[in-house]
């Protein structure tokens, strides 16, 4: 009797956990399906290669927005990656206790700051002094969002590297910083890369911080000190416009964005496969 009750409990929990897992996957599948349904009809070669058409003319594309997004993500990575990774290594390897604690706390707070506030910050320190909206300001805003995420993932991943490896290096008469650079960091590489991809995926879709910084642009990129188009901005502009054709393009833009993020994550997974710390 008790065995049956135990089996029944076990089965119930199994089903519940499976259902929870299903619920996790559902939103992504639903979103993807919905985007396909709504946006696929607006997808064609022009969409990827042409500038937006003036209001009233059908067709046109968002090529400038795709390029703009890539440029600003690139800028953000240039700013956020070195700072985030080096800082994360410091947090994990430092023997001091107080300063890392403070940095960790601040990074966590920064992580929770709404992205629109980061946008206002970049507006104040970059846009106002330069007296114009720019790709630079947008890239910096995205970089500020990137830093705490990369910092914390790097720290976690470096901490996962077994101490035996550090001791092996030190025992060979290798200097501590070289042990960190040549032995610890490579061992944590896969984890850090995955974390970076997650962070990049997050900033790729950020809209709010770009409203005050990149502004948007209906033309090709005209220099880092000029306003620039971005995919999320374009989606936002098209989605709130009153034109049916623009709505379709907004759906298609969202589809492109999510596909890019998906492909980037997949590429990171494939590139780092089988190179994990734990055997």
């Amino acid at each position: 009797m008790s065995a049956r009750i135990r089996r029944w409990k076990s089965d119930t929990v199994s089903v519940l956990t499976f259902l929870s897992a299903l619920i996790v996957v559902c939103p992504l599948l639903l979103i993807f399906g919905f985007l396909l349904l709504k946006g696929a009809s607006a997808l064609n070669l022009d969409f990827f290669t042409h500038l937006p058409k003036p209001v009233g003319e059908a067709g046109g594309g968002v090529a400038n927005a795709i390029v703009g997004s890539l440029i600003m993500i690139g800028l953000a990575v240039c700013v956020g990656l070195p700072v985030g990774i080096a800082g994360g290594v410091y947090l994990a390897e430092s023997r001091d206790r107080r300063l890392p604690w403070v940095v960790r706390f601040i990074a966590d707070v920064l992580n929770g700051v709404p992205s629109i506030v980061v946008g206002i910050f970049a507006y104040t320190v970059v846009v106002l002094p330069m007296r114009r909206f720019s790709a630079l300001a947008g890239g910096l805003a995205l970089g500020f969002i990137l830093i705490p995420i990369v910092l914390r993932t790097t720290e976690e991943m470096v901490r996962l590297v077994p101490n035996a490896l550090r001791e092996a290096g030190l025992g060979l008469g290798i200097k501590r910083w070289k042990v960190t650079m040549r032995i610890v960091l490579p061992a944590a590489r896969a984890g850090i890369l995955t974390g970076v991809m997650v962070a990049v995926a997050r900033i790729a879709g950020e809209t709010a911080p770009l409203l005050f910084t990149a502004l948007g642009n209906r033309f090709w990129h005209q220099g880092l000190d000029q306003p620039i188009a971005a995919l999320p901005l374009q989606i936002y502009a098209y989605a709130i416009a009153p034109y049916e054709d623009w709505h379709r393009q907004a759906w298609a833009g969202a589809l492109v964005l999510i596909t890019l993020v998906f492909l980037a994550s997949l590429a990171a997974r494939v590139a780092t496969r089988g190179r994990t710390i734990a055997r």
Binding site: L172, K175, A187
Partner: protein
Amino acid sequence: MGDGLYVKGLRAWFGDTLVLKGVDLTVAPNAVTAIIGPSGCGKSTFIRCLNRMHETVQGARVAGQVLLNSENLYASGVDPVQVRRRIGMVFQKPNPFPTMSIFDNVAAGLRLAGIRKKSQLQEEVERALRHAALWDEVKDDLDKSGVSLSGGQQQRLCIARALAVDPQILLMDEPCSALDPIATARIEELIHDLKKELTIAIVTHNMQQAARVSEWTGFFLLGELVEFGVAKEIFTTPRDRRTEDYITGRFG
């Protein structure tokens, strides 16, 4: 040729806890000195003091002297990194660098010491692998990952890695505790061959192993060196009652 180590009044702490309470001991050149004792007696701490690894742990501290060629390794101005070049170490669990190939594992110490010439690296790597009795098993797979080897091979890879930088002394901290009897026998054979060229100090909790491989044996208990002498005598006619109790299996 190996060199001897002369340890005088060595004390070591973890934070406020004194774990080595003044140890005097000589590690004779070109011989194997074994350190035995129950868990927590300070034998690992002791051996990690000999190449200044103990102090890499947060809050760890050392006092006393360790002399190598009459040079005190704990004198001010001595670089611990240089000490570890001269006194290599093999750890309890095989710990090859997981992102490196077999070749790169052995070459790691040389490369990071600034040796770049490919022919010289190849020569040194082969020499070290032959020394560690691993060359014949891996010579066709030098590009494979170090962690693809079996446990015993991994440990010999770690020995080769330590030998590559040409140390005068090799410290081994329970090098066989994660290995099966056959792999253990191979490592013991290797220890026997290596002592012709360098000095070896080995920590082990396996008394048979200590009796098999060592010329000199020290028995540690609660952070003190209870007895030290010729291995044969320690295992047949111990002078101290506590040593006798331990080697006859009455405790520990």
